[in-house]
Symmetry: D2
Amino acid sequence: MAGNSFGQLFRVSTFGESHGRAIGLVLDGCPAGLAIDEAFIQAELARRRPGQSAIVTQRREEDKAEILSGIFEGRSTGAPIAMVIFNADARSKDYSHIADKYRPSHADYTYQAKYGLRDYRGGGRSSARETAARVAAGAIAKLFLLSEGIRIQAYVSQVGHLQLHGNYQELHLSQAEANPVRCPDAAMAEQMEALIREVRKAGDTIGGVVSCVIQGCPPGLGEPAFDKLHADLGKAMLSINAAKGFEYGSGFEGVRMRGSEHNDIFFSEGGRARTKTNFSGGIQGGISNGMDIYFRVAFKPVATIVQPQESLNEAGEKAIVEGKGRHDPCVVPRAVPIVEAMAALVLADHLLRHRATRV
Amino acid sequence: MAGNSFGQLFRVSTFGESHGRAIGLVLDGCPAGLAIDEAFIQAELARRRPGQSAIVTQRREEDKAEILSGIFEGRSTGAPIAMVIFNADARSKDYSHIADKYRPSHADYTYQAKYGLRDYRGGGRSSARETAARVAAGAIAKLFLLSEGIRIQAYVSQVGHLQLHGNYQELHLSQAEANPVRCPDAAMAEQMEALIREVRKAGDTIGGVVSCVIQGCPPGLGEPAFDKLHADLGKAMLSINAAKGFEYGSGFEGVRMRGSEHNDIFFSEGGRARTKTNFSGGIQGGISNGMDIYFRVAFKPVATIVQPQESLNEAGEKAIVEGKGRHDPCVVPRAVPIVEAMAALVLADHLLRHRATRV
Amino acid sequence: MAGNSFGQLFRVSTFGESHGRAIGLVLDGCPAGLAIDEAFIQAELARRRPGQSAIVTQRREEDKAEILSGIFEGRSTGAPIAMVIFNADARSKDYSHIADKYRPSHADYTYQAKYGLRDYRGGGRSSARETAARVAAGAIAKLFLLSEGIRIQAYVSQVGHLQLHGNYQELHLSQAEANPVRCPDAAMAEQMEALIREVRKAGDTIGGVVSCVIQGCPPGLGEPAFDKLHADLGKAMLSINAAKGFEYGSGFEGVRMRGSEHNDIFFSEGGRARTKTNFSGGIQGGISNGMDIYFRVAFKPVATIVQPQESLNEAGEKAIVEGKGRHDPCVVPRAVPIVEAMAALVLADHLLRHRATRV
Amino acid sequence: MAGNSFGQLFRVSTFGESHGRAIGLVLDGCPAGLAIDEAFIQAELARRRPGQSAIVTQRREEDKAEILSGIFEGRSTGAPIAMVIFNADARSKDYSHIADKYRPSHADYTYQAKYGLRDYRGGGRSSARETAARVAAGAIAKLFLLSEGIRIQAYVSQVGHLQLHGNYQELHLSQAEANPVRCPDAAMAEQMEALIREVRKAGDTIGGVVSCVIQGCPPGLGEPAFDKLHADLGKAMLSINAAKGFEYGSGFEGVRMRGSEHNDIFFSEGGRARTKTNFSGGIQGGISNGMDIYFRVAFKPVATIVQPQESLNEAGEKAIVEGKGRHDPCVVPRAVPIVEAMAALVLADHLLRHRATRV
């Protein structure tokens, strides 16, 4: 209820603060008998890890997930899987200067307003460091989905004004991991990287968009009314730090279309129903139809900038906030594995929920 | 779990099919002692009702909500409030021709794939008629919010390519109800209405955008990790039929900005922290900051069109679907009260959840 | 959250007050494709109905459940099943004399303390009339369980000091329905009936015990830590009006035994593991082991008696409460179908939950 | 959903196996601003710890809870509180002889039946070692309750046939901690201890009863229909390993009474409503009435005995199970703090839930 858990049957609960002793998670409801590849979990964490390239924050964290429970002889037992990542390079002193100040567009003010006190070090619980726990849980979700033939691939499709146009089908999605920006178009990736470097040099930050494609999803996942598959995906994405928008299928652009253009015509292929176009984004009436699911997530420019900004302190007096700490000039390269992890958690949950559908 | 309930503490469960005996809802967790204005509930339903103007579906439903429980001597008692709306003008025969066919971009195929059977009449459970129950529950949520000084106002900001530009502050939002489109700009409303009429004449449909503004929300609502206020708003909106996208504050446009432009600078006014700009959309770190909350919801063109379309039947054979039934050429005018209702349900829930925050 | 729903995947929400317009329920999560026998639902309600015999309350209610949704052509569709029972013989005037008084050992005082107001007519929401909704939902759960080979049979095993001794295996459980007390031992049933008549004549009431046996439950139902099968059964039973205790298997008596006597020795029969004794009551470590599940539920004497009692009014002043209204001298004969219904709801829920257990 | 979490708003999730790396918990929803006394948490764990006296298991575990998150400068922050207890003295080899055998009346068979595999070492997840996590979380719940004036005291009231008679009011409950049995009557405690020693010498085990009294609970806690306060207490207690029964107030004995004896007569004292008797056990209609809450929990004899027993192996063949490992001859002395912890978790949860009750 306090909002630190996600999912109904495949359910992750995260804990931990940026500069506390550790962050971690409990994954409850992972089906028994799943082969758990620890190296894969670690590889996923490496994709999110700070310090992975020159265009991300240089905080040094190994992000080693230690499994405490729920696995026996390499397989999930059906018991809760707990993982802990101890914080290593937590320079809490970097934050003493803002202990009683509200950084603009951060959660400092709202946490204070909500709780009456807050762990100001590195943003405490509001830090994006919490997402490492999501990636670790998401890795297990991915293993489960892979065993059912479902693959998830996200990539950066926009940084600032630099935007990939065209359909994802024209891209080599697997190329996304070939560059630090995680944009599958090499030429565009170069431009994006240059822009991020320029922005960082200016002590500034910039926003971006992560796109995501899910392939191999069977028809039938998602619930009719409130827990539509895209509604749960939307919530999952909007729960990621700095997310500002979500659209799937034709999205905001589809608004301009007529029904006669937008409707996806069914045809039969190999005995399976398919659609000629896919403006539905693989989801109709909130339920997957077997076509690719795709969606886009907007991320704002990171709020921490290396420029002095006017603000308030806890007493309500004017105060100057100066940018210190180590932060990302643009969040999207590291957001890619987080988007995938959250998508995997949604799909794994709906796969299990779907099992209760028929007599 | 089956997705027909929404909210944690202020929780609505809906039931009913488009052409079944009735639709309805149970609202559990409405605090005791709230004065329930039945006329207000009815007025809200009238805003969503079919047949309210020439540009919406002409199905004739009075949409009279009968309260079965939970109210005593005009006040909520803390017991579940059940309401039923009996279906009157259900012309199920209109649907016999599609009993075994999948209408393009409807939920016919996905329901069949999920459940192995379906109530095909009027889309059954997948019909937007279900949202009447949401509006009735939302009316009670609004009464609760009003008692706390929170006001919600939605309006149509785009139909097809016709888009309102500029900030909501420049609009007279209360004018939205002055025309059948529910656009607060009278000139634009006229153009939009003309476009909708044209589209309908062509037997076609068109998409649109509903914008929403929430005023008077205190700081502190929303939970940090997964149940961020905007994440729950996003899910709520994406759960509305035909929704394709959600953005709040700077949204997808904010992606292009730099942090130095996008950050909302705090200042003190009358002892309260306020921000000079509001790209945050009233929510920081997932928690309300006391500024206006605003967001936009994209709706696709309605899938039912009065044109023959190729499709499949349940046997997987080619079939022609012809558009019959009475449907909206554009969903957004009637979506306005639904967007408000869902926003009210989210806010009411978070208001109650917030009470558990401190010792 | 407000406590009017039960179950995770097979989930019932009830609503309605004793003297309001109607009581009812929404059952969400019933698997699609289940044949719904409406006559069976009605027959179950008849077993709980007031006025069914001379030893129960003489309030006249037909208790006709009207199905509003979720069934199409005789089968569940996977959509929520809503049922309504309109109140007919609600003599609210019978209660005007206690509008501001607290009846001893009723919920009058605690409701007032909790909510600050209450629907005093017939106990409002606290009335056992709410259990009719449980019986209707439980009937559907039973149909689902029967399709999986699981049968539930409850019976009266004690009224006041009159107690059936010996094991349930020595009884002809099906005989329970042959007499108004619902005790499967005809001689004991006669004594019990005489005692209830005597107590009623004295304007008094008396307690009792309902025992329940579940046969055909497969091994594997129940969850390890908090949602042990017997813990959920216990909560289900204790949520029934007037329940004061629950025990399963060896129960409170087992406390006196040694481990060497109490342990149930496994043996193999027809390839299935069975146990020689069944002190475990069919549940080990919270999970069913395939043996019969059995448990007992204690019910206190009904609080409404036809004798003047000292009490308080809402102002905190002394007041005399006189027994009016039509009430049961002993709750257990009508509690039998309620116990079965709640047991069925627990089992149906765990059957569905179990489907998510393995990869 | 997989049953490893408990509570709605004050919610604990436990993880860990008896012989895995660690056990632990995440407590979500603890209100912000609560002073956390770590020494108190440790003291509560010491009451449950193995090896605390000669009449409990001699496994040597320090049971040191390490706090990983959610506390800042000695106070809860509103973020999830994670605690880990690393396993020290896990002699897994003690269990290799039963790797493929089902110990009678343990969870070995049912876990295998449910999951298809199991961590057999020390019972894995089914071990009572999991309850250490409950005690740690319960300690924080107690701190919260104490800040609201609510005190919980459990004690041993029966071991085998040795039973304390009379009311708890005649006992000096605080004396319960003065002896290893945790029975507040010194003479009875000595007899009980002698019985436990005798049973242990015989390589056997014996059952017992834990009674519990909650004082200072305000009127109004508990929900009307399914989440009655005693129903949630009952589930909490029945979820403890080896629990077989629960009764509150007059319990199973109350069955024999007449309503005219059993009804608790209200009177006013110091402006507060009180009752002359308290057969209701402090709960009426599922809601606390401000009187003492009291209940009893039955525990079976521990299943592990030092005697060879006939059983089956995973192949379904006959096998002899010999008792090894270090186990309790009687569970109740160590169950006392567990009962208190679970009661505290229920009360803390309902305290928070109650805050949402009125406008």
